[in-house]
């Protein structure tokens, strides 16, 4: 464990602790114990529970107006209200990292981030990485060149975690990068090839910066 540069992200001051997250859910009116996946389809008001409230989010450089419940997670808002299904839900409880997005350049699990807490933040998902003309982000390009990943359900989370990590350490060793993205699980266990692809992405990114 020579270099712990990758753990810097946890020091982010705006990070919501598990305790705060649960408090937020309880304040939102839903029993935290009832079920793993809970959300309210847009526009429907039924039974007991939370009312939705119209907020503005900055997602992938766009201002998006969206109705959210107090206990709604960012993963659900992105996937079911903003149509951004590139962000995946693998566990819904901060175990697997498939839902990782960038919030103010910091990789965060969107399954464990309440949407109303990121109203003033800059959110980037996998859909927001490529340029408008379709040119891929270097991290995406590295995957293409090295045939990184297999089933790729974990891929967008890994891409966002790597992109965020490279902002703090643009020239990592393989071991440093592994530490930096160790909050993400790949069940195809393609880690070795993923690391090769992500190291290639880092190299492309440094090249792009110098160009």
């Amino acid at each position: 464990m020579a270099d712990m540069a990758g753990t810097k992200k946890t020091e982010h001051t705006k990070a919501v602790s598990r305790r705060k997250f649960i408090q937020g859910v309880i304040a939102g009116g839903a029993g935290a114990s009832s079920a793993t996946y809970l959300f309210r389809a847009s526009g429907v008001v039924s039974g007991a529970g939370a009312r939705e409230r119209l907020i503005t989010l900055n997602v992938n450089g766009q201002q998006r107006r969206v109705d959210v419940m107090k206990q709604e997670t960012l993963a659900m808002t992105l996937r079911y209200k903003l149509g951004l299904t590139g962000t995946k839900i693998g566990c819904d409880r901060a175990e697997c990292g498939a839902c990782t997005v960038l919030i103010d350049d910091v990789p965060r699990y969107s399954c464990s981030t309440l949407t109303h807490t990121v109203r003033n933040a800059k959110i980037v998902t996998v859909e927001g990485l490529a340029a408008a003309d379709g040119t891929l982000h270097p991290v995406q390009q590295g995957i293409l060149e090295e045939q990184g990943f297999q089933c790729a359900f974990c891929m967008s989370g890994f891409i966002m975690a790597t992109t965020g990590f490279l902002k703090t350490n643009p020239n990592p060793t393989r071991a440093e990068l592994a530490h930096g993205i160790s909050g993400n699980l790949c069940r195809c266990q393609d880690y070795d090839k993923i690391l090769t692809a992500m190291m290639r992405g880092a190299e492309l990114m440094r090249g792009a910066r110098h160009a």
């Binding site: 996946y37 429907v44 007991a48 297999q150 160790s182 993400n184 393609d190």
Partner: protein, 852 residues
């Protein structure tokens, strides 16, 4: 993970020789959608008016629903329907392609139940406008259960007076078929039954010493067989070891939960799901729903991991389909991670006992093997018989006796998981081989080499004609030799000292193998009038890329650059070919054969079109560089011109007639493609002498801290004997990925259950944590022999499963090299296992305590 070395991998050999496509790297066509987040998995689809579904799961391991009151739930605004077990269609018999009837198992899994057989089994499903409402409705359902006896430990069910997991017993039994009169068509086998099997107190006497008891096994050719003279073998052996070893139950834990969306339109059910076979899931859905397969539209473009658990249809597809019909609206059923641990299948644990006799050179002269599989309550998995078959193939014992039992329990249903049975069999055998080498003073590579299969190695018992089955080929000796060289095996073994401070290093080697291919599937290719060529792929897309890779064979044969090729996959509405299920590591072998067959057929049709257009005989023409032209140069047609001509010619050329050999699903696709260009189909009818298996030699080095019990995986190499390399990068991903899947069984993954309540305690990732990016060996490498398989035209075999047993066992063997043979008797090996045993000076884990 030690961070000192950055990987400086040795150069990979060049694969593919003079080929343009086969054996070469290229970016697969589905990657762009994946990296940009555009790839759609099941839960990414939406439909207008889509309802959401939640399940009510059994809180008890075995019970009967005595009373059910849905009224309060149904009265809730937003609740659209509740589906119970009483509304499920009767299980349908099925008909194979050659007309054999397979009787439905009336005692098999139905999807919903009034007699839950494991904690977490779905009892009913609620559809509502959103999930919150569905969950609130479930809270309002009044349900009363009658508790029934349960069993979670297979050995407990075998004890005299032990509990039965199902009413009627603890094992499956198929009554013998009725005697056939000469010339009569065989009747379908009688339906399977549940029977009781109990052993005696005397049988269990050995259990107290930590040795697996071995009682009566019912007669069954798959589970009780032998060859050679086992007793004489033991008598003449220089060393006899008798060991009990236990492997863990391990959930598949696909990262994508098995969510499914379904709706009905014009009498057809549309199912959006993730599966290991696009096309074969169509008849499977039809069978579960008891409808005609022509009324099934299946969409499965991307599947987020399967590992054997998403074979074809399953309850996760059927519940939303039936609820959608009932509510007359689309239904999305999202599966949570906890539900995934209940219904998402798992590898069964194997309790095994091996008595092995060795000659002084290390040759296995006799083997007596007994496997007990913890099956869960439903259809029997094949792990027990497969464990015997694989051990017999991989270690070529001169005489062998095998007994296997598949025991029902009230634990979540098991399923095939990467190298089912093979992985467990290998991890029973390998620690014994390692121990024998130490006792006999032999090198670990040498003892494997002397037992390794080669040529057309036989396996299993002789059939009624006295013949034993055999593999198409095995070159694992070369893999061991080249691997040992690449891994610097001798230098590592000789390294001194092994211990520095509290850190002890150990090296291990393992052999591994599993089935590597089937035969008899179809290829379907469309050459369009614009000269582009489209491969109609019915293969499931699991990310191994075989869905795309195999079609490179057809392009290679036709001399078409890959840029001119499209692969069409993901739905039967796209008119695809009948293909194998991507399980059993079949696809690379089976579908390169089909791709080869359709390539040769396309060549022939192009030659015929050229002869009809330009005169002469078909054999006067050759096909290369996107043209068909007279041999030695001269007049010819481009592929575009030939496709236009095919449309004019009609009949067999443009799909108005189909190749009579192909499957009815392929024929339906041909009919839909007719008139669009040159439509070519073919079935793989190439001969094959032997059964197809792939082999891997795996090497590992570990470092154990004997003060804390914690250990690190330092180095790993897998050398694969998988026939010709098709696509190096995806092959490498599979060799390493499946090796690490195996390592998970060695280093920490297992189920833990509460014996008092029959409750599953491993419900989330971190309760049975799959290896993370920090758990993998600091340095990993792979290589392939690239020796073509002699029994298939392209020479390629499958690789999904063969590395798994090696990944697990190379680590186990490296650990025992570091800390000694008497430290662990079951996997996974955790730091506390090591620490407790080192402190006590003897093994501290009782191997036969299940679910610890």
């Amino acid at each position: 993970m030690p961070n000192t070395v950055d990987t400086n991998k040795s150069a990979q050999p060049v694969y593919g020789g003079k080929n343009k496509l086969i054996g070469k790297d290229y970016p697969t066509a589905d990657l762009y959608a994946k990296v940009t987040g555009k790839a759609k998995y099941a839960e990414d689809y939406r439909a207008e008016g889509m309802l959401f579904c939640r399940l009510l799961l059994s809180p008890l391991p075995h019970a009967r629903v005595k009373h059910l009151d849905l009224s309060a739930a149904l009265a809730m605004p937003g609740v659209k329907g509740i589906l119970t077990a009483d509304e499920l269609p009767a299980p349908a018999d099925s008909l194979t392609d050659n007309g054999t009837v397979i009787r439905a198992n009336k005692l098999g899994e139905r999807g919903l139940t009034n007699e839950p057989l494991y904690q977490g089994e779905p009892i009913l499903a609620v559809a509502a406008v959103d999930e919150l409402t569905a969950v609130e409705a479930i809270e309002k359902i009044h349900i009363e259960f009658e508790r029934l006896p349960f069993a979670i430990d297979p050995l407990d069910t075998l004890r005299p007076g032990g509990p039965n997991p199902r009413v009627g017993g603890n094992i499956w039994h198929r009554p013998p078929a009725a005697l056939m009169k000469p010339g009569e068509r065989p009747a379908p086998p009688p339906p399977i039954e549940i029977k009781e099997l109990k052993w005696t107190e005397a049988d269990f006497a050995e259990a107290k010493q930590g040795r697996m008891p071995m009682g009566h096994v019912p007669e069954d050719p798959a589970n009780s067989w032998s060859y050679g003279d086992v007793e004489t073998g033991f008598k003449n052996a220089a060393l006899v070891l008798d060991e009990t070893f236990v492997t863990p139950d391990t959930s598949h834990q696909c990262l994508e939960p098995r969510s499914t969306m379904a709706y009905w339109q014009n009498g057809k059910v549309h199912v959006y799901t993730g599966t290991q076979s696009m096309i074969q899931t169509v008849p499977a859905v039809a069978r579960w729903l008891n409808i005609d397969p022509s009324n099934v539209v299946l969409v499965s473009e991307y599947t987020g991991g399967g590992f054997g658990s998403k074979g074809t249809a399953a309850i996760s597809l059927i519940i939303p389909a039936l609820l959608s019909k009932k509510c007359n609206a689309p239904v999305m059923m999202r599966i949570s991670r906890e539900e995934e641990h209940f219904i998402g299948r798992a590898r069964p644990s194997l309790t095994g006992r091996m008595k092995v006799g060795f000659s002084k050179e290390g040759r296995i002269v006799a083997l007596d093997m007994f496997s007990i599989i913890n099956n869960g309550p439903y259809d029997a998995v094949g792990d027990a018989p497969t464990s015997g078959r694989i051990v017999s193939l991989l270690y070529q014992p001169q005489a062998m006796r095998f007994r296997g039992l598949t025991i029902l329990t009230n634990t979540p249903p098991r399923g095939a998981q990467s190298a089912p049975g093979g992985m467990q069999g290998i991890s029973l055998m390998e620690p014994i081989l390692a121990k024998a080498a130490r006792k006999l003073g032999l090198d670990q590579v040498a003892i494997r080499r002397i037992n390794a299969p080669e040529g057309k190695p036989p396996f299993g018992a002789a059939n009624s004609q006295g013949k034993r089955a055999y593999a198409t080929s095995s070159f694992i000796k070369q893999a061991l030799d080249r691997g040992a060289e690449k891994f610097n095996w001798n230098e590592r073994v000789a390294r001194n000292p092994k211990r520095i401070g509290t850190k002890v290093r150990g090296v291990g080697v393992s052999m591994s193998c599993y089935s590597g291919g089937s035969t008899g599937f179809d290829g379907l290719t469309l050459i369009k009038p614009d000269g582009r060529i489209c491969f109609q792929s019915g293969i499931g897309n699991l990310g191994t890329e075989s869905v795309i890779d195999v079609h490179r064979v057809t392009a290679e044969i036709l001399g078409v650059p890959w840029e001119k090729c499209d692969v069409c996959w993901g739905s039967n509405s796209k008119n695809v070919a009948w293909s194998c299920v991507s399980g059993g590591s079949q696809t690379t072998h089976a579908m390169t054969r089909a791709a080869h067959a359709v390539g040769m057929e396309a060549k022939l049709r192009l030659q015929e079109i050229a002869a009809k257009t330009l005169g002469g005989k078909p054999e006067d023409y050759e096909v290369a560089n996107e043209r068909v032209f007279r041999k030695g140069g001269g007049a010819g047609l481009t592929l575009a011109q030939a496709a236009q001509k095919a449309i004019q010619l009609g009949g067999i050329y443009d799909g108005h007639e189909s190749n009579p050999d192909v499957n009815r699903y392929t024929k339906a696709s041909i009919k839909a493609l007719a008139g669009q260009g040159l439509v070519v189909s073919a079935r793989d009818k190439y001969p094959r002498d032997g059964s197809t298996y792939s082999f891997v030699a795996s090497f590992a080095e570990v470092e154990v801290d004997v003060e804390t019990g914690k250990y690190h995986l330092l180095d790993f190499l897998a050398y694969a004997d998988v026939g010709s390399v098709l696509h190096p990068k995806t092959l490498g991903g599979q060799v390493m990925g499946r090796s690490v899947l195996g390592m998970g069984h060695a280093i920490g993954q297992k189920w833990v259950m509460d014996p008092a309540y029959g409750a599953m305690l491993s419900r989330r990732f971190h309760h049975s944590k799959p290896p993370t990016i920090l758990d993998i060996p600091a340095r990993m490498e792979w290589a392939a022999l690239d020796i073509p398989d002699p029994e298939t035209p392209v020479g390629s075999r499958g690789i999904g499963e063969p590395p798994v047993g090696g990944g697990c066992s190379a680590i186990l063997n490296a650990l025992s090299d570091a800390v000694g043979d008497e430290v662990f008797r079951r996997a996974p090996v955790t730091p506390d296992t090591i620490l407790a045993a080192l402190e006590a000076g003897r093994p501290m884990q009782h191997p036969l305590m299940a679910h610890i």
